[in-house]
Protein backbone atom coordinates (compact mmCIF):
# COMPACT_ATOMS: atom_id res chain seq x y z
CA UNK A 1 0.00 0.00 0.00
CA UNK A 2 2.69 2.41 1.03
CA UNK A 3 4.58 1.43 -2.11
CA UNK A 4 1.62 2.58 -4.18
CA UNK A 5 1.40 5.95 -2.46
CA UNK A 6 5.12 6.41 -2.83
CA UNK A 7 5.12 5.77 -6.55
CA UNK A 8 2.12 8.05 -7.03
CA UNK A 9 3.91 10.74 -5.10
CA UNK A 10 6.97 10.21 -7.16
CA UNK A 11 5.15 10.57 -10.47
CA UNK A 12 3.50 13.79 -9.37
CA UNK A 13 6.83 15.02 -8.23
CA UNK A 14 8.52 14.35 -11.53
CA UNK A 15 5.53 15.79 -13.39
CA UNK A 16 5.85 19.12 -11.63
CA UNK A 17 9.58 19.22 -12.30
CA UNK A 18 8.98 18.43 -15.95
CA UNK A 19 6.37 21.19 -16.11
CA UNK A 20 8.90 23.57 -14.58
CA UNK A 21 11.51 22.60 -17.11
CA UNK A 22 9.09 22.92 -20.02
CA UNK A 23 7.92 26.35 -18.95
CA UNK A 24 11.48 27.46 -18.46
CA UNK A 25 12.35 26.39 -21.98
CA UNK A 26 9.30 28.17 -23.39
CA UNK A 27 10.22 31.32 -21.46
CA UNK A 28 13.80 31.33 -22.71
CA UNK A 29 12.83 30.74 -26.33
CA UNK A 30 10.04 33.34 -26.21
CA UNK A 31 12.55 35.83 -24.83
CA UNK A 32 15.02 34.89 -27.53
CA UNK A 33 12.87 35.73 -30.53
CA UNK A 34 12.70 39.54 -30.06
CA UNK A 35 16.45 39.55 -29.49
CA UNK A 36 16.98 37.87 -32.86
CA UNK A 37 14.22 39.59 -34.81
CA UNK A 38 15.51 43.06 -33.92
CA UNK A 39 18.31 42.54 -36.46
CA UNK A 40 15.87 42.01 -39.34
CA UNK A 41 15.11 45.01 -41.60
CA UNK A 42 13.31 47.67 -39.56
CA UNK A 43 10.06 49.30 -40.65
CA UNK A 44 11.73 52.35 -42.18
CA UNK A 45 14.01 50.15 -44.24
CA UNK A 46 11.10 48.04 -45.42
CA UNK A 47 9.19 51.16 -46.47
CA UNK A 48 12.03 52.15 -48.79
CA UNK A 49 11.85 48.80 -50.53
CA UNK A 50 9.75 50.36 -53.33
CA UNK A 51 11.00 53.12 -55.62
CA UNK A 52 9.76 54.90 -58.74
CA UNK A 53 12.17 55.55 -61.59
CA UNK A 54 11.51 58.15 -64.27
CA UNK A 55 12.75 56.88 -67.67
CA UNK A 56 11.35 59.63 -69.88
CA UNK A 57 14.79 61.09 -70.58
CA UNK A 58 16.55 57.80 -71.15
CA UNK A 59 17.48 57.78 -74.84
CA UNK A 60 18.08 54.67 -76.90
CA UNK A 61 21.38 52.97 -76.15
CA UNK A 62 21.75 54.74 -72.86
CA UNK A 63 21.55 53.12 -69.49
CA UNK A 64 20.81 54.51 -66.06
CA UNK A 65 21.89 53.32 -62.64
CA UNK A 66 19.75 53.96 -59.56
CA UNK A 67 19.99 52.69 -56.01
CA UNK A 68 17.38 50.19 -54.87
CA UNK A 69 17.58 48.42 -51.51
CA UNK A 70 21.18 49.55 -51.33
CA UNK A 71 22.07 47.84 -54.60
CA UNK A 72 22.63 49.33 -58.05
CA UNK A 73 19.79 48.85 -60.47
CA UNK A 74 20.61 48.98 -64.19
CA UNK A 75 17.92 50.28 -66.53
CA UNK A 76 18.99 49.99 -70.14
CA UNK A 77 17.12 51.45 -73.09
CA UNK A 78 18.15 48.86 -75.66
CA UNK A 79 18.63 49.53 -79.35
CA UNK A 80 17.00 47.25 -81.90
CA UNK A 81 20.38 45.68 -82.59
CA UNK A 82 20.88 44.82 -78.96
CA UNK A 83 17.42 43.30 -78.75
CA UNK A 84 18.16 41.22 -81.83
CA UNK A 85 21.50 40.13 -80.42
CA UNK A 86 19.76 39.04 -77.27
CA UNK A 87 17.25 36.97 -79.21
CA UNK A 88 19.66 35.39 -81.70
CA UNK A 89 21.09 33.01 -79.19
CA UNK A 90 20.60 29.30 -78.85
CA UNK A 91 19.65 29.25 -75.23
CA UNK A 92 20.51 25.61 -74.83
CA UNK A 93 24.15 26.63 -75.10
CA UNK A 94 23.85 28.97 -72.13
CA UNK A 95 24.98 28.17 -68.57
CA UNK A 96 21.66 29.50 -67.30
CA UNK A 97 19.18 29.11 -70.14
CA UNK A 98 16.55 31.87 -70.27
CA UNK A 99 14.81 33.49 -73.23
CA UNK A 100 15.10 37.24 -73.57
CA UNK A 101 11.28 37.53 -73.46
CA UNK A 102 11.21 36.00 -70.03
CA UNK A 103 13.58 38.68 -68.80
CA UNK A 104 11.75 41.82 -69.96
CA UNK A 105 8.30 43.37 -69.67
CA UNK A 106 8.96 45.74 -72.57
CA UNK A 107 11.83 44.56 -74.79
CA UNK A 108 13.06 48.16 -75.14
CA UNK A 109 13.82 48.40 -71.46
CA UNK A 110 15.98 45.93 -69.62
CA UNK A 111 15.83 46.23 -65.83
CA UNK A 112 18.53 44.37 -63.89
CA UNK A 113 19.98 44.19 -60.42
CA UNK A 114 23.57 45.25 -61.06
CA UNK A 115 25.18 42.68 -58.82
CA UNK A 116 27.33 39.96 -60.31
CA UNK A 117 25.93 36.57 -59.37
CA UNK A 118 29.41 35.32 -58.67
CA UNK A 119 30.51 37.20 -55.55
CA UNK A 120 28.55 40.45 -55.50
CA UNK A 121 30.67 42.96 -57.45
CA UNK A 122 29.13 45.54 -59.78
CA UNK A 123 29.69 44.77 -63.47
CA UNK A 124 30.61 47.55 -65.90
CA UNK A 125 28.18 48.50 -68.68
CA UNK A 126 28.79 47.97 -72.43
CA UNK A 127 31.88 45.93 -71.80
CA UNK A 128 32.94 42.37 -72.28
CA UNK A 129 32.88 39.91 -75.16
CA UNK A 130 29.10 40.13 -75.59
CA UNK A 131 28.64 43.93 -75.46
CA UNK A 132 26.56 43.63 -72.30
CA UNK A 133 28.23 43.77 -68.96
CA UNK A 134 31.60 42.71 -67.69
CA UNK A 135 32.47 42.06 -64.08
CA UNK A 136 36.02 43.23 -63.33
CA UNK A 137 36.40 41.14 -60.20
CA UNK A 138 36.69 37.69 -61.71
CA UNK A 139 35.95 38.22 -65.39
CA UNK A 140 32.31 37.28 -65.90
CA UNK A 141 30.81 38.34 -69.25
CA UNK A 142 27.09 39.11 -69.58
CA UNK A 143 25.21 39.69 -72.83
CA UNK A 144 22.68 42.37 -73.79
CA UNK A 145 20.00 40.51 -71.92
CA UNK A 146 22.16 40.33 -68.79
CA UNK A 147 22.72 36.59 -69.22
CA UNK A 148 25.96 35.00 -68.14
CA UNK A 149 27.95 33.87 -71.17
CA UNK A 150 31.48 33.40 -69.98
CA UNK A 151 33.31 33.38 -66.67
CA UNK A 152 32.72 32.01 -63.19
CA UNK A 153 29.30 33.49 -62.43
CA UNK A 154 26.69 30.71 -62.13
CA UNK A 155 23.55 32.66 -63.02
CA UNK A 156 22.16 35.47 -65.14
CA UNK A 157 21.88 38.94 -63.63
CA UNK A 158 18.79 39.00 -61.46
CA UNK A 159 15.61 40.77 -62.54
CA UNK A 160 13.93 42.74 -59.73
CA UNK A 161 10.14 42.69 -59.36
CA UNK A 162 8.87 45.75 -61.24
CA UNK A 163 5.93 47.10 -63.18
CA UNK A 164 5.40 49.92 -65.66
CA UNK A 165 3.31 52.44 -63.76
CA UNK A 166 2.92 54.35 -67.01
CA UNK A 167 4.94 54.75 -70.19
CA UNK A 168 7.69 56.70 -68.49
CA UNK A 169 7.71 55.40 -64.93
CA UNK A 170 8.91 52.11 -63.58
CA UNK A 171 7.86 51.00 -60.14
CA UNK A 172 10.48 48.70 -58.62
CA UNK A 173 9.85 46.57 -55.56
Amino acid sequence: MSENIKSKKKSRRSFIHQASGAMGIVAVSAAGWPLIDQMNPSKDVEALATIEVDISELVEGQSKTVLWRGKPLFIKHRSQKEINDANNVDINQLPHPENDEERVKNPKYLVLIGVCTHLGCVPASDKGDFQGWFCPCHGSHYDTSGRIRKGPAPKNLEIPPYTFKDENTILVG
Binding site: D37, Q38, S42, K43, D44
Partner: protein
Protein backbone atom coordinates in the same frame (compact mmCIF):
# COMPACT_ATOMS: atom_id res chain seq x y z
CA UNK B 1 36.92 17.20 -9.31
CA UNK B 2 36.56 14.13 -7.18
CA UNK B 3 33.94 12.09 -8.97
CA UNK B 4 35.05 12.97 -12.48
CA UNK B 5 37.83 10.52 -13.10
CA UNK B 6 40.29 10.86 -15.91
CA UNK B 7 39.78 7.32 -17.13
CA UNK B 8 36.01 7.66 -17.45
CA UNK B 9 34.61 7.92 -20.92
CA UNK B 10 32.49 10.62 -22.47
CA UNK B 11 33.08 13.96 -24.12
CA UNK B 12 32.51 15.90 -20.93
CA UNK B 13 35.16 13.95 -19.10
CA UNK B 14 37.51 14.31 -22.01
CA UNK B 15 37.08 18.07 -21.92
CA UNK B 16 37.17 18.30 -18.18
CA UNK B 17 40.43 16.39 -17.97
CA UNK B 18 42.00 19.04 -20.18
CA UNK B 19 40.05 22.13 -19.14
CA UNK B 20 38.30 21.67 -15.81
CA UNK B 21 35.30 23.90 -16.52
CA UNK B 22 32.81 21.22 -15.58
CA UNK B 23 34.49 20.48 -12.29
CA UNK B 24 34.61 24.17 -11.65
CA UNK B 25 30.90 24.63 -12.30
CA UNK B 26 30.12 21.54 -10.26
CA UNK B 27 32.22 22.85 -7.45
CA UNK B 28 30.81 26.37 -7.41
CA UNK B 29 27.21 26.01 -8.57
CA UNK B 30 26.17 22.41 -7.90
CA UNK B 31 27.98 20.93 -4.93
CA UNK B 32 28.73 24.28 -3.32
CA UNK B 33 27.75 23.74 0.32
CA UNK B 34 25.23 26.40 1.30
CA UNK B 35 23.77 27.02 4.75
CA UNK B 36 20.47 25.20 4.93
CA UNK B 37 18.61 28.11 6.57
CA UNK B 38 18.84 30.90 3.98
CA UNK B 39 15.62 32.88 3.67
CA UNK B 40 14.16 34.72 0.68
CA UNK B 41 16.35 37.77 1.28
CA UNK B 42 19.22 35.62 0.00
CA UNK B 43 17.54 35.46 -3.42
CA UNK B 44 18.58 38.98 -4.29
CA UNK B 45 22.22 38.20 -5.03
CA UNK B 46 21.46 35.92 -7.94
CA UNK B 47 18.65 38.27 -9.01
CA UNK B 48 21.17 41.10 -9.22
CA UNK B 49 23.36 38.93 -11.41
CA UNK B 50 20.37 38.18 -13.62
CA UNK B 51 19.50 41.84 -14.10
CA UNK B 52 23.14 42.63 -14.90
CA UNK B 53 22.92 40.05 -17.65
CA UNK B 54 19.63 41.50 -18.92
CA UNK B 55 21.17 44.97 -19.05
CA UNK B 56 24.19 43.75 -20.96
CA UNK B 57 22.17 41.78 -23.50
CA UNK B 58 19.58 44.49 -24.15
CA UNK B 59 22.31 47.13 -24.04
CA UNK B 60 24.40 45.46 -26.70
CA UNK B 61 21.29 45.20 -28.87
CA UNK B 62 20.35 48.84 -28.37
CA UNK B 63 23.87 49.87 -29.30
CA UNK B 64 23.30 48.31 -32.72
CA UNK B 65 20.57 50.88 -33.41
CA UNK B 66 21.62 53.88 -31.35
CA UNK B 67 23.65 56.81 -32.67
CA UNK B 68 25.85 58.66 -30.19
CA UNK B 69 25.73 62.14 -31.70
CA UNK B 70 23.93 65.19 -30.36
CA UNK B 71 22.10 65.62 -33.67
CA UNK B 72 20.92 62.04 -33.90
CA UNK B 73 20.78 60.54 -30.41
CA UNK B 74 17.22 61.57 -29.61
CA UNK B 75 15.98 60.61 -33.06
CA UNK B 76 17.74 57.27 -32.96
CA UNK B 77 15.92 56.42 -29.73
CA UNK B 78 12.63 57.19 -31.46
CA UNK B 79 13.82 55.07 -34.37
CA UNK B 80 14.31 52.20 -31.93
CA UNK B 81 10.88 52.80 -30.40
CA UNK B 82 9.03 53.02 -33.71
CA UNK B 83 10.92 51.22 -36.46
CA UNK B 84 13.16 48.51 -35.06
CA UNK B 85 11.42 45.16 -34.67
CA UNK B 86 10.51 44.81 -30.98
CA UNK B 87 12.68 47.88 -30.39
CA UNK B 88 10.17 49.40 -27.97
CA UNK B 89 10.24 46.22 -25.89
CA UNK B 90 14.00 45.99 -25.77
CA UNK B 91 14.39 49.64 -24.86
CA UNK B 92 11.70 49.51 -22.18
CA UNK B 93 13.37 46.44 -20.71
CA UNK B 94 16.71 48.25 -20.63
CA UNK B 95 15.18 51.41 -19.11
CA UNK B 96 13.27 49.60 -16.40
CA UNK B 97 15.94 46.94 -16.04
CA UNK B 98 18.24 49.65 -14.69
CA UNK B 99 15.68 50.55 -12.04
CA UNK B 100 15.08 46.95 -11.10
CA UNK B 101 18.80 46.27 -10.94
CA UNK B 102 19.05 49.05 -8.37
CA UNK B 103 16.00 47.89 -6.40
CA UNK B 104 17.45 44.40 -6.21
CA UNK B 105 20.94 45.61 -5.29
CA UNK B 106 19.63 47.97 -2.61
CA UNK B 107 17.64 45.13 -1.05
CA UNK B 108 20.75 42.96 -1.29
CA UNK B 109 22.74 45.65 0.55
CA UNK B 110 20.15 46.13 3.26
CA UNK B 111 20.03 42.38 3.75
CA UNK B 112 23.79 42.53 4.30
CA UNK B 113 23.30 45.33 6.81
CA UNK B 114 20.63 43.46 8.73
CA UNK B 115 22.43 40.15 8.97
CA UNK B 116 25.92 41.59 9.42
CA UNK B 117 27.21 40.05 6.21
CA UNK B 118 30.05 42.61 6.12
CA UNK B 119 31.76 41.29 9.25
CA UNK B 120 34.90 39.17 9.35
CA UNK B 121 35.84 37.24 7.34
CA UNK B 122 33.70 38.89 4.65
CA UNK B 123 35.09 42.45 4.68
CA UNK B 124 36.54 42.23 1.19
CA UNK B 125 33.39 40.62 -0.12
CA UNK B 126 31.57 43.67 1.21
CA UNK B 127 34.13 46.04 -0.32
CA UNK B 128 33.77 44.44 -3.72
CA UNK B 129 30.03 44.89 -3.40
CA UNK B 130 30.43 48.62 -2.75
CA UNK B 131 32.73 48.88 -5.75
CA UNK B 132 30.03 47.23 -7.84
CA UNK B 133 27.53 49.78 -6.53
CA UNK B 134 29.83 52.67 -7.46
CA UNK B 135 30.37 51.26 -10.94
CA UNK B 136 26.64 50.76 -11.33
CA UNK B 137 25.99 54.36 -10.38
CA UNK B 138 28.50 55.64 -12.90
CA UNK B 139 27.07 53.37 -15.58
CA UNK B 140 23.47 54.31 -14.86
CA UNK B 141 24.26 58.02 -14.79
CA UNK B 142 26.01 57.91 -18.15
CA UNK B 143 23.31 55.72 -19.61
CA UNK B 144 20.67 58.24 -18.66
CA UNK B 145 22.53 60.87 -20.68
CA UNK B 146 22.39 58.86 -23.91
CA UNK B 147 18.76 59.59 -24.99
CA UNK B 148 19.79 63.25 -25.03
CA UNK B 149 16.52 64.50 -23.63
CA UNK B 150 16.17 67.48 -21.35
CA UNK B 151 16.79 65.45 -18.17
CA UNK B 152 19.76 63.73 -19.81
CA UNK B 153 21.36 67.02 -20.65
CA UNK B 154 20.63 68.89 -17.45
CA UNK B 155 21.33 65.91 -15.23
CA UNK B 156 24.70 65.59 -16.92
CA UNK B 157 25.33 69.30 -16.52
CA UNK B 158 24.51 69.36 -12.81
CA UNK B 159 26.39 66.17 -11.93
CA UNK B 160 29.52 67.00 -13.90
CA UNK B 161 29.46 70.44 -12.29
CA UNK B 162 29.87 68.69 -8.94
CA UNK B 163 33.50 68.18 -9.82
CA UNK B 164 34.02 71.90 -10.18
CA UNK B 165 33.71 72.03 -6.40
CA UNK B 166 37.19 70.52 -6.08
CA UNK B 167 39.51 73.35 -5.06
CA UNK B 168 42.04 74.73 -7.57
CA UNK B 169 41.68 72.09 -10.29
CA UNK B 170 37.89 71.73 -10.21
CA UNK B 171 37.26 73.73 -13.36
CA UNK B 172 39.97 71.89 -15.23
CA UNK B 173 38.47 68.58 -14.22
CA UNK B 174 34.98 69.50 -15.44
CA UNK B 175 36.39 70.69 -18.74
CA UNK B 176 38.33 67.48 -19.00
CA UNK B 177 35.15 65.49 -18.33
CA UNK B 178 33.21 67.49 -20.92
CA UNK B 179 35.88 67.69 -23.58
CA UNK B 180 34.76 71.29 -24.03
CA UNK B 181 33.17 74.14 -22.18
CA UNK B 182 29.82 72.54 -21.58
CA UNK B 183 28.10 69.20 -21.93
CA UNK B 184 28.15 68.60 -25.68
CA UNK B 185 28.94 66.09 -28.38
CA UNK B 186 32.36 65.06 -27.01
CA UNK B 187 30.71 64.42 -23.64
CA UNK B 188 27.96 62.30 -25.16
CA UNK B 189 30.43 60.33 -27.18
CA UNK B 190 32.71 59.46 -24.25
CA UNK B 191 29.76 58.71 -21.97
CA UNK B 192 28.53 56.24 -24.56
CA UNK B 193 31.89 54.50 -24.71
CA UNK B 194 32.14 54.30 -20.94
CA UNK B 195 28.52 53.25 -20.58
CA UNK B 196 29.30 50.33 -22.88
CA UNK B 197 32.58 49.49 -21.16
CA UNK B 198 31.75 49.71 -17.45
CA UNK B 199 29.23 46.84 -17.33
CA UNK B 200 31.97 44.44 -18.37
CA UNK B 201 34.10 45.83 -15.58
CA UNK B 202 31.15 45.15 -13.28
CA UNK B 203 31.10 41.55 -14.51
CA UNK B 204 34.77 41.28 -13.55
CA UNK B 205 34.16 42.61 -10.06
CA UNK B 206 31.10 40.35 -9.72
CA UNK B 207 33.34 37.36 -10.43
CA UNK B 208 35.71 38.50 -7.66
CA UNK B 209 32.67 39.05 -5.44
CA UNK B 210 31.64 35.43 -6.00
CA UNK B 211 35.16 34.13 -5.47
CA UNK B 212 35.29 35.97 -2.15
CA UNK B 213 31.83 34.67 -1.28
CA UNK B 214 32.73 31.06 -1.98
CA UNK B 215 35.92 31.28 0.01
CA UNK B 216 34.10 31.39 3.34
CA UNK B 217 30.61 30.56 2.13
CA UNK B 218 27.39 32.49 2.47
CA UNK B 219 26.41 34.17 5.67
CA UNK B 220 23.00 33.10 6.98
CA UNK B 221 20.06 34.51 8.95
CA UNK B 222 21.54 33.31 12.23
CA UNK B 223 24.89 34.86 11.47
CA UNK B 224 26.81 31.95 12.99
CA UNK B 225 29.42 29.86 11.24
CA UNK B 226 28.75 26.39 9.91
CA UNK B 227 29.78 23.76 12.43
CA UNK B 228 29.74 20.74 10.15
CA UNK B 229 28.21 19.07 7.12
CA UNK B 230 24.80 18.81 8.81
CA UNK B 231 24.55 22.61 8.59
CA UNK B 232 24.78 22.86 4.83
CA UNK B 233 23.08 21.49 1.74
CA UNK B 234 24.32 21.40 -1.86
CA UNK B 235 23.45 24.49 -3.87
CA UNK B 236 21.81 22.36 -6.54
CA UNK B 237 18.93 21.55 -6.56
CA UNK B 238 17.92 23.28 -3.34
CA UNK B 239 18.98 26.82 -4.07
CA UNK B 240 18.84 26.66 -7.85
CA UNK B 241 15.11 25.96 -7.69
CA UNK B 242 14.60 28.51 -4.95
CA UNK B 243 16.44 31.13 -6.98
CA UNK B 244 14.43 30.20 -10.07
CA UNK B 245 11.19 30.58 -8.17
CA UNK B 246 12.33 33.96 -6.88
CA UNK B 247 13.41 34.96 -10.39
CA UNK B 248 10.07 34.02 -11.88
CA UNK B 249 8.25 36.01 -9.22
CA UNK B 250 10.49 39.03 -9.77
CA UNK B 251 10.05 38.79 -13.53
CA UNK B 252 6.28 38.88 -13.15
CA UNK B 253 6.54 42.20 -11.36
CA UNK B 254 9.23 43.46 -13.71
CA UNK B 255 7.23 42.74 -16.85
CA UNK B 256 4.07 44.16 -15.32
CA UNK B 257 5.97 47.45 -15.18
CA UNK B 258 7.60 47.03 -18.60
CA UNK B 259 4.32 46.33 -20.36
CA UNK B 260 1.84 48.43 -18.41
CA UNK B 261 3.75 51.35 -16.91
CA UNK B 262 7.03 51.55 -18.81
CA UNK B 263 7.47 55.26 -18.25
CA UNK B 264 6.37 55.27 -14.63
CA UNK B 265 9.92 55.30 -13.26
CA UNK B 266 11.18 57.76 -15.87
CA UNK B 267 10.59 61.45 -16.22
CA UNK B 268 8.36 63.03 -18.90
CA UNK B 269 10.92 65.76 -19.57
CA UNK B 270 13.27 63.24 -21.08
CA UNK B 271 10.93 62.96 -24.05
CA UNK B 272 11.77 66.59 -24.85
CA UNK B 273 14.99 66.89 -26.88
CA UNK B 274 17.90 68.47 -25.01
CA UNK B 275 17.94 72.25 -25.21
CA UNK B 276 21.09 73.91 -23.81
CA UNK B 277 19.24 77.23 -23.57
CA UNK B 278 16.37 76.11 -21.40
CA UNK B 279 16.48 74.30 -18.06
CA UNK B 280 13.39 72.28 -17.13
CA UNK B 281 11.35 73.38 -14.14
CA UNK B 282 12.33 70.51 -11.84
CA UNK B 283 15.54 68.64 -12.35
CA UNK B 284 15.45 65.37 -10.50
CA UNK B 285 17.84 62.49 -10.95
CA UNK B 286 16.59 58.95 -11.40
CA UNK B 287 14.95 57.66 -8.23
CA UNK B 288 17.93 55.50 -7.23
CA UNK B 289 20.11 58.58 -6.82
CA UNK B 290 17.61 60.59 -4.80
CA UNK B 291 18.96 59.84 -1.28
CA UNK B 292 22.45 60.92 -2.34
CA UNK B 293 21.03 63.93 -4.15
CA UNK B 294 19.26 64.93 -0.92
CA UNK B 295 22.53 64.67 1.01
CA UNK B 296 24.24 66.83 -1.61
CA UNK B 297 21.64 69.54 -1.28
CA UNK B 298 21.41 69.37 2.50
CA UNK B 299 24.84 70.94 2.92
CA UNK B 300 24.80 74.68 2.28
CA UNK B 301 28.40 74.64 1.04
CA UNK B 302 29.18 73.45 -2.49
CA UNK B 303 32.33 71.52 -1.70
CA UNK B 304 30.85 70.31 1.59
CA UNK B 305 27.81 68.94 -0.21
CA UNK B 306 29.91 67.03 -2.70
CA UNK B 307 32.10 65.61 0.05
CA UNK B 308 29.07 64.59 2.11
CA UNK B 309 27.50 62.87 -0.87
CA UNK B 310 30.57 60.81 -1.66
CA UNK B 311 31.17 60.14 2.04
CA UNK B 312 27.71 58.62 2.27
CA UNK B 313 28.99 55.79 0.12
CA UNK B 314 32.58 55.69 1.30
CA UNK B 315 31.49 55.31 4.90
CA UNK B 316 30.24 51.88 3.86
CA UNK B 317 33.85 50.83 3.27
CA UNK B 318 34.58 51.49 6.96
CA UNK B 319 31.46 49.72 8.17
CA UNK B 320 33.13 46.39 9.03
CA UNK B 321 35.26 48.24 11.57
CA UNK B 322 32.73 50.85 12.66
CA UNK B 323 30.36 48.10 13.77
CA UNK B 324 32.23 46.80 16.80
CA UNK B 325 29.76 44.07 17.74
CA UNK B 326 30.97 40.50 17.30
CA UNK B 327 27.44 39.28 16.67
CA UNK B 328 26.47 39.31 13.00
CA UNK B 329 22.74 38.85 12.74
CA UNK B 330 20.32 41.54 13.93
CA UNK B 331 18.11 38.69 15.11
CA UNK B 332 20.25 38.52 18.24
CA UNK B 333 20.87 42.26 18.56
CA UNK B 334 17.71 43.86 20.00
CA UNK B 335 18.89 47.48 19.78
CA UNK B 336 20.66 47.19 16.46
CA UNK B 337 17.47 45.73 15.02
CA UNK B 338 15.62 48.93 15.93
CA UNK B 339 18.44 51.10 14.62
CA UNK B 340 18.39 49.16 11.35
CA UNK B 341 14.77 49.99 10.72
CA UNK B 342 15.28 53.62 11.70
CA UNK B 343 18.20 53.77 9.29
CA UNK B 344 16.13 52.26 6.49
CA UNK B 345 13.40 54.80 7.17
CA UNK B 346 16.03 57.54 7.16
CA UNK B 347 17.24 56.59 3.68
CA UNK B 348 13.66 56.49 2.43
CA UNK B 349 13.07 59.97 3.85
CA UNK B 350 16.26 61.13 2.14
CA UNK B 351 14.97 59.71 -1.13
CA UNK B 352 11.69 61.48 -0.68
CA UNK B 353 13.17 64.93 0.10
CA UNK B 354 15.57 64.39 -2.80
CA UNK B 355 12.57 64.48 -5.11
CA UNK B 356 11.26 67.71 -3.59
CA UNK B 357 12.48 71.22 -4.37
CA UNK B 358 15.28 72.38 -2.08
CA UNK B 359 13.31 74.95 -0.11
CA UNK B 360 11.59 75.58 3.21
CA UNK B 361 10.77 72.55 5.31
CA UNK B 362 12.40 70.15 2.87
CA UNK B 363 15.82 71.62 3.56
CA UNK B 364 15.36 71.15 7.29
CA UNK B 365 14.18 67.55 6.86
CA UNK B 366 17.06 66.77 4.53
CA UNK B 367 19.55 68.17 7.04
CA UNK B 368 18.16 66.13 9.93
CA UNK B 369 18.06 62.98 7.81
CA UNK B 370 21.59 63.56 6.50
CA UNK B 371 22.92 64.09 10.01
CA UNK B 372 21.25 60.92 11.20
CA UNK B 373 22.71 58.97 8.27
CA UNK B 374 26.22 59.74 9.44
CA UNK B 375 25.41 59.53 13.16
CA UNK B 376 24.18 56.00 12.55
CA UNK B 377 27.46 54.87 11.06
CA UNK B 378 29.98 57.01 12.90
CA UNK B 379 28.54 57.22 16.42
CA UNK B 380 25.72 54.77 17.08
CA UNK B 381 27.27 51.65 15.58
CA UNK B 382 30.71 51.95 17.26
CA UNK B 383 29.11 52.65 20.64
CA UNK B 384 26.42 50.02 20.28
CA UNK B 385 28.94 47.20 20.08
CA UNK B 386 30.25 48.22 23.47
CA UNK B 387 26.95 48.55 25.31
CA UNK B 388 24.45 46.31 23.59
CA UNK B 389 23.63 43.03 25.32
CA UNK B 390 22.97 40.52 22.59
CA UNK B 391 20.71 37.52 22.97
CA UNK B 392 22.36 34.09 23.26
CA UNK B 393 23.37 32.59 19.93
CA UNK B 394 22.15 29.13 18.95
CA UNK B 395 24.71 26.34 18.97
CA UNK B 396 24.51 25.50 15.30
CA UNK B 397 22.60 26.21 12.12
CA UNK B 398 21.29 22.66 11.92
CA UNK B 399 19.84 22.59 15.39
CA UNK B 400 17.08 25.20 15.22
CA UNK B 401 16.24 24.07 11.70
CA UNK B 402 15.96 20.43 12.70
CA UNK B 403 14.07 21.34 15.84
CA UNK B 404 11.29 22.84 13.73
Amino acid sequence: MSNLKKNERGILNWIDYRLPVISFLKHSAVDYPTPRNLNYWWNFGSLAGFFLLVQIITGVILSMHYTAHVDHAFNSIEHIMRNVNHGWLIRYIHMNGASFFFIVVYIHIFRGLYYGSYKAPRELLWWLGIIILLLMMATAFMGYVLPWGQMSFWGATVITNLFSAIPLIGDNITQWLWGGYSVDNPTLSRFYTLHFLLPFLIVGVVILHIVALHTHGSNNPLGIDKKGPQDSIPFHPFYTIKDLFGLSFALTIFFAVVFFAPDFLGHPDNYIPADPLKTPAHIVPEWYFLPFYAILRAIPDKLGGVIAMFSAIFVLFLLPWLDTSKVRSATFRPIYKILFWIFLLDTIILGWVGSKPAEGIYIIISRIATSYYFVHFLILLPLLGKFEKSRPLPESIGKPVLAE
